[in-house]
Symmetry: C2
Subunit: 130 residues, 2 copies
């Protein structure tokens, strides 16, 4: 019998200079809900009743005094139904297009959230609906 | 009607100097499976048939030339059934206990993976089984 580790990913923690503001961006970006809120800590969870609810890692924004210095070693790739539309929507929410040296013809869009954390918006799944 | 963003988290990307080696650690740590493998890129997905399968973000290890320089802005919190046992197991897999200035009596254990990426092993859920 193969032993399965009794260890799961509970959350992805994101250091932040302003957890409330940064969480507000991701809340709108993903359509997630705020389930915990203190001045130094905000938790977002997937929509209640969605497949991700209680399964996918939560997002936890933690206040830190230091600012982002270098390109993050960890970043999220997001899968849209419509890449161009989502990129525009994310810009309207406070993200910006970014460059980390990706090829000019890369099919993914590199962006940065309001605190400069890089993330990518992938092309839609071929033939899929997101 | 509230509009739900058609945008989901596809994967968490982790810059790595040795994707094969780093993925091997996380594969064993979480009991996930390797579903894509190139010299510069390795993908891990949750166990087939697990609640996370096809729902939780995959882990994607990407080769980069630069080394880790500062504390990561993003890190994973892991939820164990037995904290002490999992910490020992993770050490045996190549992780180490780490310090990022956490309080000495913090109930979570700060660790670093074989490339120094910080993560935490939380206490078990009260009354829960992980």
């Amino acid at each position: 019998m193969v032993s399965v580790p009794e260890l799961r990913i509970q959350c992805l923690c994101i250091d932040s200079n302003d957890p409330d503001r940064l969480a507000r961006f991701w809340e709108a970006a993903l359509g997630w809900r705020r389930t915990y809120e203190e001045p130094d800590e905000v938790v977002l969870e997937p929509r209640a009743g969605s497949p991700e609810d209680g399964v996918s890692p939560d997002l936890l924004f933690l206040r830190v005094p230091e600012h982002k210095q270098v390109k993050n070693r960890l970043h999220l790739d997001l899968r849209p139904a419509d890449q161009a539309r989502e990129v525009e929507r994310l810009v309207s929410l406070g993200a910006r297009r970014s460059s980390v040296g990706q090829p000019p013809d890369a099919p993914w869009e590199v962006m940065a959230d309001p605190e400069g954390n890089e993330f990518c918006v992938l092309p839609p799944l071929p033939g899929g609906d997101g």
